[in-house]
Symmetry: C2
Subunit: 314 residues, 2 copies
């Protein structure tokens, strides 16, 4: 029997990444584009279809050895019908029948899901959350996305909208959030927000990566900076562990690279204010799959849906 492959796509606001995976979800080939280089959503979707064809041609594969195409997108999705509700950071996407269109173009099974959920799936199946039955996987970036693993499965909630830890209310009188509410976690630890604070402390040329480096070199201001971020994140997470009694919280995304200073401050916040059993149980650990997590998760999605033989395939 011929070896089987999966094509995975991670559609981000900035980068569009594509990969050819084998059936064990190992990445065999990769390509990357600037998302903004496509004029509109139709050209972007055509770009996705072309990427699929390019992998097939360049690797000399028969179309029949491709099990399917998995796509992660940065926004809310009807995963079983493959409809993208909207993408906050990619203009023009509203109720797009991505699965239907791409299935027609590629003649392959197509599966679509939210990117934070796919990262959680990847970290749970092959990464940092592998040993844990109940875990929250966070991606810390411009937004704060999350995916919940409950009883060893990705938990989707009623509308595939579970995991929105970024909009955990920390202070009803806090800063206004993009979602319209006040004092959401994201308004305290989203990249843009903390960069603004950082510039006041370290000057206009500072980057978050530089502050991470400074903290590693024991710069007191940099340590205090990450302490404050960790304290806010730990406050929200203490509410989450009290509610869910999780085994682990996995942190990925740019900010997670700040290292021990950040992680210790998160742990301390949880120890000091979560309930004893919950605080003692939960491990706070770093994601291990890095920038490939979304691609691996998209690959896993294809495998899982095909194995389950869900009716959304045809």
């Amino acid at each position: 029997m011929a070896k089987k492959f999966i094509i995975a796509i991670d559609l981000g606001g900035t980068n569009l990444k594509c990969a050819l995976l084998d059936a064990q979800l190992k990445i065999k080939a990769k390509s990357s584009f600037n998302t903004k280089s496509f004029d509109d959503k139709y050209k972007l979707i055509q770009g996705l279809a072309d990427s699929v064809d390019n992998f097939i041609i360049s690797q000399g594969l028969e179309r029949s050895v491709i099990l399917g195409v998995g796509i992660g997108v940065p926004g809310p999705v009807d995963t079983f019908r493959g409809i993208v509700h909207f993408l906050p950071n990619v203009p023009g996407w509203k109720e797009v029948q991505l699965k239907k269109i791409l299935l027609r173009k590629t003649k392959l099974p197509v599966f679509v899901d939210n990117d934070a959920k796919l990262m959680a799936l990847a970290e749970h199946k092959l990464g940092a959350a592998k040993k844990f039955k109940n875990a929250l996987c966070l991606t810390l970036g411009t937004g704060v996305g999350g995916g919940l693993i409950i009883n060893n499965s990705l938990y989707r909630g009623a509308d595939n909208a579970a995991g929105e830890i970024g909009h955990f209310p920390l202070d009803e009188k806090g800063p206004l959030c993009g979602c319209g509410a006040r004092g959401c976690l994201e308004t305290y630890i989203g990249n843009n927000r903390i960069l603004k604070i950082a510039r006041k402390i370290f000057g206009s040329q500072i980057t978050l990566e530089k502050i991470s480096l400074l903290a590693l070199q024991f710069n007191p201001k940099a340590i205090e900076f990450w302490n404050q971020v960790g304290k806010k994140l730990g406050l929200a997470l203490s509410g989450v562990v009290n509610l869910l009694n999780l085994d682990a919280i996995v942190l990925g995304g740019g900010i997670a690279c700040a290292g021990n200073v950040l992680f210790n401050s998160i742990r301390q916040a949880i120890q000091s204010r979560a309930m004893p059993d919950q605080a003692k149980r939960v491990k706070i650990i770093k994601a291990v799959l890095g920038v490939d997590a979304g691609l691996i998760g998209a690959g896993y999605l294809v495998k899982e849906r095909l194995e389950r033989g869900t009716p959304d395939l045809l």
Copy 2:
């Protein structure tokens, strides 16, 4: 074949309730004691065993028709080993092997769980949460207890400690909570706390039941009082629905009797600050099993464990 029965016990800080249930969880007979009338935990446990015997004798039953004994307790429990870790409101209970002791005394299978979890189980199996796949069931009293239904099952978390919505952090600089943290939901809406506020507004003779009646009669101060309670609860629940994308939240316990004024204010808080999909989905409804929820849940626990044939039986 002889008809089968279950004995259910709801051990509260104030009242100890016992019931004989048939296999369909209908209550056939009931008895009630003052928890404080037992001098110590040994006398209390002997009282539980005596209650079991009394049902058997008074109803003229063979011991063999009793499927088992289910017990709900107000504190953290190792449900599979039947060990009560501690009971905040019943002195002297620490790491009590309740299952083991009572099994020896009654010669019947015994199952123990936390009372808020049993109420959630009951409301999900036979009550207000029956139609819902993912739901949070809250009991609003001195404490704010919760039980989570996830994918149609009671979700326990890693240590059977999930559901502690009472310690959701609303303000890191808020009032000191019994758990040691600041600004937990319980410090804003726990019975004792709101009664203290109520006395300042309505005088020292006021009760929460009276304020509920006043609100029904359109007393503006009473309406404003419940509005404030609903606003705080709604704030915490908006964080929960963003995270869990629940189908329903079921509210029981004394405060839930305040009626529409409270429920509408909770709904409004969720609509105004949860994310659109999550806010649109979640139903905020009143518990229907009332004071019997704990007994029915304890009965269900016995049925479920026996059907699953879990190893903790022997």
